[in-house]
Amino acid sequence: MYRYDEFDARIVHDRVSQFKGQVQRRLTGDLTEDQFKPLRLMNGVYLQLHAYMLRVAIPYGTLSSGQLRKLAFIADRYDKGFGHITTRQNIQFNWPALVDIPEILDHLAEVEMHAIQTSGNCIRNVTTDHFAGATADEIEDPRVWCEVIRQWSTFHPEFTFLPRKFKIAVTASAQDRAAVRVHDIGLHLVKNLAGETGFEVYVGGGLGRTPYVGEVIRSFLPSEHLLSYLEAILRVYNLQGRRDNLYKARIKILVNALGMDQFRDLVEAEWLNARDSSVDVPQEEVDRINAYFAPPPFENLPKAYDQTSATQDNPDFARWLRHNVSAHKQSGYAIVTVSLKSPEMAPGDITSTQMKRVADLAGDYSFDEIRTTHEQNLVLPHVRQQDLFVLWQKLSEQDLATANAGLVSDIIACPGLDYCNLANTRSIPVANRIQERFFSPEKQEEIGELKIKISGCINACGHHHVGHIGILGVDKKGEEFYQITLGGSAAEDASIGEIVGRGLSTDEVVDSIERLVAYYLQSRQSDERFVDTYKRLGSEPFKEALYAA
């Protein structure tokens, strides 16, 4: 993975000093809260319902064991022993004191981490495929380009006070695990007919109040021009994006208002003048970064390890193999998804003890590497197949081997009213109740892939628009209601779910979802997924099932 050189280290160090000064000026009253707010936000510090929250960047979701141990230390010392994995592959601490935050940043800097641009109206942490560098179906490791973008976007002097936040995601696989089409800019690494690598560039996707699936602005951008093209898009957005209304300020609104053709013309006109500037880093620098992402020293192993003896006596292990273990590009290796979706915990929450254990297990079984996923799980990317059984046993001891990756209980949920001061309703208890209702692993397996995503308000942090089943919390005269959307997807078949009818009360919502699932099970053809059956039959019969009580 990427390691800091003297420049990276000094920039992060200077940033900590700067933020120390800003906190000091706030504490002495030199800065008003209104002036301090955008400064603390730019450094991932939010003021929530009960306390400050610190969001720490995990660039493109890649962590070392040492970094995860440091996060565990911070959770123990400055939080209540928890961390929370976010949908931008970052980690949040919900209970730090403001005066401690500079010290936390010092600790983070020791392991080459920071909280830079995890919030604010700037370019946020770039996200990517959590299987990057391990999956067989990628063109090249997309994290190299993520790091190029990370450096370019860090403290960008022109793009730090944009109309609104700006999110970029990169994938290099046909199977989109990074939700690139619901980002402000989505980058899909492809090869053209001549065999050259470049990007299919999507723009204008996003969730929130007005969800859009991004459209292609350029079908092939030679990779050496990535940064100048991004700069051209950002420049048009910075000048023309709306600043009069917070809810209409994202780039998706601008693209939609101008139409893609006119927006593209503006971007291409900007780019024409920028493409030969020194914004684009030369191949030498890309090669330098690329070297950090060289594959770990894999052993030469036979193609597949025979798990029969272990699975015979352990149906739970067999189920975990089926759902949480994915194919690796290197023969004899596998990718393991470590589920953070036990019904005992808020989705994405992890205890400091679990962090330390996962750090150790990554050291023993995955070349010291861990990934965070936008679906709020962890991944051990490089595990020898012959180690899977013992790894599963050790994960089980920590309640980290729930065999539910991609299944009904693998729910994305925002923090909701339990933490967030924007929320209308709670999200975590709804997620937990659905997980309890579908507790049976056999039942979950029978249902197959089903992505439920829950947001506690219209800001859509829980990505409900792109859930196969989306659940949106709304407040009606002080009472919590939940609106259901169906048929959404964040993957390569990206689509926005449809609202099917009136909101459901807290008491109704879990029963209704169970009826939806029952209707799907009786209606599906062969191995059709929930979302496929929905797309085949349309909303009407599902709507009937939902409100059948």
Partner: protein, 141 residues
């Protein structure tokens, strides 16, 4: 109070706008549509510190229109943005009279390494890496 950037430091100065051609450029005007050829001072406004359009306008004036005169920031200017403004090509600043000039100069010195090129003279980190790399190679050759 008017501040002028000299050798990467801000000094209080007396404005002499009467003897110069000054252009006030609104935030919704594309910088390349303005005729700045015979202008000495272009003034760009920050209506609030959250409104960052003038950063782009400044870079376009410097890097695309080739404007070499004085580029002045007015409006809501706070210490923590001054470095971004300088990097985008601003050379003078109309600030509130009670502004702590020492604080602004401290803010200008908070960073010495920059990842990306802009309208200032800073050499982006990747370029310095290459230079460092080449020197290292030479030393070991």
């Amino acid at each position: 109070m008017l501040l002028k950037l000299e050798n990467n430091r801000l000094e209080i100065t007396i404005g002499d706008d009467a003897s110069h051609d000054v252009m006030n450029l609104a935030n919704d005007v594309h910088a390349l549509e303005a005729d700045v050829l015979n202008v000495d001072i272009v003034v760009l406004n920050f209506p609030t510190f959250k409104d960052g359009r003038a950063y782009t306008q400044a870079r376009q004036l410097r890097e695309r229109a080739g404007f070499t005169g004085d580029l002045r920031a007015t409006g809501d200017i706070i210490r923590d943005q001054i470095l971004y403004m300088v990097r985008c090509g601003f050379t003078s600043f109309e600030v509130a009279p009670e502004t702590d000039v020492g604080g602004l100069n401290a803010a200008l010195a908070e960073f010495s390494d920059f990842y990306q090129p802009a309208a200032d003279v800073a050499v982006p980190v990747w370029m310095r890496r290459q230079r460092a790399g080449r020197e290292q190679l030479r030393r070991f050759a």
